[in-house]
Amino acid sequence: MVSLVMRIRIILTSILIGLSSFSVSAEVAVIVSMENPLTTITRAQLVNIFLGRSSTFPGGGRALPVDQLDANEQRQDFYNENVGWSAAQLKAHWSKIIFTGRGQPPKQLENDDAVEEFILSNPRGIGYIQKGNASVNVKIVDIVP
């Protein structure tokens, strides 16, 4: 039986680890198709699309978000930075949407290349990748306050 003090210490340590990995993370860029007129998006609008709360872009038109695998660092960075939720919170949130019968979580692709490929073949797509990995064929959308 682990003592309460130990447990609290473990929790605090994991929070600190979480914070430190957040601060040293490589920058994640939000990308859309060149055909998409979108140039900026607010953090809340971005979150609404990625959490399935909104199915359209700020300017109108259906948005098709695409996600990365749970294990990918980009995913953890993206949700830490923009939503501030843990993986468990995200799972509970998506369970809620799945079991309302109103939606499915975005497809989870294996890496940045796969996300970029998806955006290239889906003009309504929106994804995130490491900033350095974005090619000239996709558009980086600025996140504004």
Binding site: S54, A88, A92, K96, R102
Partner: protein, 438 residues
């Protein structure tokens, strides 16, 4: 169509595991046969479930998971697994970009003491535009904030949504049509929902409720981590049971055979108190907000029935505060339900013969039974903890202190009271559960 005929009924008490396997096979078979077939709908299978155990300190009465369960923890069972345990399977078929179909089957302890699976949802959903969706079939009855995922324990912190409020409308679905419109304005998302339908539900003791003209109007607002919700529900409700039939037939016969004021009053009670097509309306407000690691949420509701029957108007609310510590979230909930109780009319006894007076007194006393039973009065305080122990698995423990109201004649949401139970008695409930999704 709604109720399987007895001959078609599956055998009682099919093990939940068996049902799970059956559906998983169906699911795997479907996804196997549909792989690489471009014109086939894209099928996904999801499931949810709760394995829960509840103990009550109060042996004179049963604590149940919802209004449909015939017995529970306390008098019937020392430890009841029936209160919260359930298993659900959902099949989503995406037919094209606009059209999809959803079927959700749920196995849960129900009115006949079985876990027979029922069709919770079965609807087609069509996106007229990205923002406007129409659904037709068996759809949710969206009275409260958690109505759409009321059965999915994994999606909320509690063991079960606070019953004081949620059992004000125990009906979770209806057959009909549903329109939803969503509009984002800046960072705020507005959602409007309107639905119309009907349903039929069975309760224990051969009771049944016929619900028609069930209308739901919902407005929801989401702004960052804050959400607000207002809903209006109205339905024509007809509650029937052999007990009510005998009781009101008694009033009717007494009225027909007794001249004067006593007979008139008996006929009046028969006409008024049978619940045929009473119009029942529910107004509900809900809010939730998270700030830092805090989560706060609350709902309030008030009901109104358009004429005197044995169903009382109710006011109910709850408030929950939780604090997230990594994967652990302790929380506290207070909840309350109070009736605007009817003053039950009586057959006046003066001028009656001894035999008539005895019949009248028995009828008067029996009328108090449903009136008291439907005047739910209780409050509770709950302390609990949710731990996201594994991927898609949450463990929960909660301790609830529940008190009924002395002098109210009501056992609150507790059922099967023994003669030794007194309104005002309390119960301490300890519940443990494992909630999962797949």
């Amino acid at each position: 169509m709604l109720m399987a005929a007895p001959s078609q009924k599956l055998p009682n008490r099919i093990p939940m595991v068996g049902i799970a396997v059956l559906f998983m096979i169906v699911g795997m078979y479907s996804s196997f046969t549909c792989a690489d077939e471009i014109n086939w709908p894209e099928l996904t299978v999801h499931g949810f479930g709760t394995l829960g155990a509840t103990h009550s300190s109060q042996d004179d009465v049963d604590y149940v998971g919802n209004f449909f369960q015939p017995d529970g923890a306390g008098y019937s069972e020392t430890v009841a697994f029936s209160v919260d345990s359930k298993l659900g399977l959902q099949l989503n078929a995406k037919i094209n970009d606009r059209l999809s179909a959803v079927i959700q089957m749920v196995s849960q302890y129900q009115y006949d003491g079985s876990y027979d699976p029922r069709t919770e949802w079965a609807f087609f959903s069509y996106d007229l535009t990205p923002a406007f969706t129409i659904r037709v079939g068996r759809i949710v009855a969206p009275t409260f904030m958690e109505s759409e995922t009321r059965l999915v324990g994994y999606t909320y912190p509690w063991m079960r949504p606070p019953q004081e409020l949620y059992d004000v409308n125990p009906i979770t679905n209806k057959d009909g049509i549903d329109f939803m419109y969503q509009r984002a304005s800046g960072e705020t998302i507005h959602t409007l929902q309107a639905s119309y339908g009907s349903t039929f539900k069975r309760f224990s003791g051969n009771s049944e409720a016929d619900v028609s003209n069930a209308l739901h109007l919902v407005y929801g607002l989401q702004y960052r981590a804050t959400s607000l919700r207002v809903s209006y529900t109205s339905m024509d409700l007809d509650i029937r049971s052999p007990f009510f039939n005998d009781l009101f037939d008694g009033f009717r016969d007494f009225g027909a055979n007794t001249p004067g004021a006593a007979g008139q009053q008996a006929s009046y009670i028969d006409n008024q108190f049978r619940s045929d097509d009473s119009e029942y309306t529910i107004f509900a407000l809900g809010a939730s907000h998270s700030v830092g690691n805090w989560l706060i949420r609350g709902e309030w509701t008030s009901t109104d029935i358009n004429r005197a029957t044995f169903v009382s108007d109710l006011t109910a609310w709850y408030f929950t505060a939780g604090y997230r510590l990594g994967s652990v979230m302790p929380f506290v909930t207070v909840a309350h339900v109070k009736p605007d109780k009817l003053s039950t009319p009586d057959i006046p006894l003066n001028g009656l013969s001894t035999a008539q007076a005895q019949t009248a007194m028995a009828l008067n006393a029996n009328l108090d039974i449903p009136v008291n039973a439907f005047a739910f009065h209780q409050e509770s305080i709950t302390a609990g903890l949710r731990w996201d122990a594994l991927d898609r698995v949450a463990l929960k423990v909660q301790l609830q202190h529940l008190r009924t109201e002395s002098g109210s004649g009501s056992s609150g949401r507790l059922v099967n009271p023994r003669p030794s139970f007194e309104p005002g008695d309390s119960a301490n409930l300890l519940s443990l559960s494992m909630d999962f999704v797949f």
